[in-house]
């Protein structure tokens, strides 16, 4: 029955999204910022630290992922039950994928599949990125928030906000490998560049849970400021960046000792955070202030605040295209 429904949805809705994909030049990186209230994906050129393009998205997108192969961006529209599809090279929104439910967190395997959490149905849908067909669903904990997938598309981590746990899924076999208890209200996830470590930001507990992804065990826990809502690990694996919504700061932790090194004041109610691959700069979405803070990680300072459309919640570093 489920397969039939998915197939019907795919047949009816999927044909519109298979446009030719022009590969982006991998020469540089861009910073992508998603603003929920205004429904805009902004592109920041990290050389100028200014917004170079704004792409309108129909609806109120909550979270997004960029497919490393096609360079398309996929943004969840929880209120509409859809996934917005953005072509960042041609800088246009394509017709959305209508998957139903209340999609929130999203990740991609880089090989044509999307993983989408449903906030109120407590499950992950595996979705065909071209047709929008739901291939299968996997039950997880309550209110799945952010997701993180390994680059080879073999494993998916899910922060179950209302269950205080992280689900670890063999996403090829569609099998739960482990459900690990973490702190109260896990929301954001950060995977280290070598994928050996997963950092979980527990919003209500104001702590980080550090997970060894080999043994699937929480090996350390660190206190941060109230309401951590974003986490990232630098490309050189040396630092963990955590945005603290309630103190308006980003805390920087040593990635080996998990001890706090410094704290940088940013805008109000910061949420998503991401670091450039060269490790020198990081970008933070200040939800309340409608701005993006640019951080100099070597100096431990905020060097610029870029005004952006209302409601920025997530930042992703992607290849510079078009």
């Amino acid at each position: 029955m489920k397969a039939m429904l998915a197939a019907a949805a795919g047949l009816a809705l999927g044909i519109l999204v298979s446009a030719p994909i022009k590969a982006a030049t991998a020469a540089g990186q861009n910073v992508y910022v998603l603003s929920q209230d205004d429904g805009v994906l902004s592109i920041i050129d990290p050389n100028a630290d200014e917004i170079s393009a704004k792409i309108n998205i129909p609806g109120k997108p909550a979270a997004f992922a960029i497919d490393p192969t096609s360079h398309f961006a996929f943004a969840t529209l929880p209120d509409a039950g859809e996934i917005a599809v953005v072509d960042p090279v041609h800088r246009t929104a394509m017709p959305s994928l209508k998957i139903g439910g209340q999609p929130f967190g999203i990740a991609t395997d880089g090989a044509g599949r999307l993983f989408v959490g449903d906030w109120s149905a407590n499950r992950i849908s595996v979705v065909d990125a071209k047709t929008g067909a739901v291939i299968t669903t996997i039950a997880v904990g309550r209110s799945p928030a952010h997701l993180a997938a390994t680059r080879d598309g073999s494993r998916l981590y899910v922060a179950n906000r209302e269950s205080d746990s992280v689900s670890v899924i063999d996403i090829r076999e569609h099998k739960i490998l482990a459900t690990m208890p973490v702190g109260h209200a896990p929301f954001a996830l950060g995977l280290s560049p070598d994928e050996g470590k997963l950092v979980v930001a527990n919003a209500q507990a104001a702590t980080l849970s550090i997970v060894d992804t080999q043994n699937l065990k929480v090996v350390a826990s660190s206190a941060t400021r109230p309401m951590p809502y974003g986490v990232a690990i630098t490309a050189d694996n040396s630092e963990i960046l955590v945005s603290n919504q309630h103190s308006g700061t980003v805390s920087i932790f040593d990635a080996q000792t998990h001890r706090p090194k410094t704290e940088i004041k940013v805008g109000r109610f910061p949420e998503g955070v991401a670091a450039l691959a060269n490790g020198r700069k990081a970008y933070v979405a200040n939800w309340f202030s409608a701005s993006v803070s640019v951080l100099d990680l070597a100096a431990g300072t905020e060097i610029k605040r870029i005004k952006c459309p209302e409601g920025p919640r997530m930042v992703v570093i992607g290849a510079a295209g078009g």
Binding site: M4, L5, A8, A9, L11, A12, Q36, D37, K60, A62, T76, P78, D79, G81, G100, G101, Q102, F104, D118, W119, S120, A121, R142, S143, R161, E162, A206, R225, P226, M227, Q245, H246, S247, R268, F269, W287, F288, G311
Partner: protein, 178 residues
């Protein structure tokens, strides 16, 4: 085609049915209210920073119970509507003159919200102080088909009214002092 349409209708109905409320939701809302008070910032901050005494200046608060201390403090406010708000303190920053706290319960009789994180800041201005009270909140029904009294608009209106009444009460208390 008729069958396919039929299946889509079922699919849509299923999606609607599963979108029931949870403690939190996907689209946060913003409230930002300010008031200017003819009193020195230090005096205003002394009142605002005292988490357990909001009942002395917020006209909607009829009773208050404080438990714990430091960052483990919670306050239980009874409003004149009979509704209850339980807030837990996060930060009191005397340098920045900012206090942060968040809602721990859900009581739509008090406010049509499922959660909020609030921050009150006191700033010096020429005529005395400016108090800014900001809130990040989620509507009462975080599912995809909220009724009119549980949607985003109702949540923002209810919270704005509560915050405005509080700021007005704070102004009255501080300006009528002496």
């Amino acid at each position: 085609m008729a069958t396919r349409l039929h299946l889509l209708v079922i699919l849509a109905a299923m999606a609607w049915y599963t979108a029931i409320a949870s403690a939190h939701g996907p689209t946060p809302q913003k409230v930002d209210e300010k008031v200017t008070i003819k009193a020195p910032p230090a005096d205003v901050w002394k009142v605002v920073r005292d988490f357990g005494t909001i009942g002395s200046w917020h006209p909607w608060v009829t009773d208050i119970k404080v438990e714990g201390s430091g960052n483990e403090t919670t306050r239980t406010l009874t409003l004149k509507s009979g509704g209850i708000l339980i807030d837990s303190l996060d930060t009191v920053d005397d340098q920045a003159m900012t206090i942060d706290y968040r809602l721990q319960n859900e009581d739509f009789k008090a406010l049509p919200v499922s959660s909020y994180s609030d921050e009150i800041t006191v700033k010096p201005v020429a005529s005395g102080s400016e108090v800014e009270w900001i809130s990040r909140l989620y509507r009462a029904d975080t599912g995809n088909e909220p009724s009119e009294d549980k949607n985003d608009e109702a949540a923002v209106k209810g919270s704005s009214d509560f915050i405005k009444a509080g700021l007005d009460g704070l102004k009255v208390k501080l300006e009528s002092k002496k």
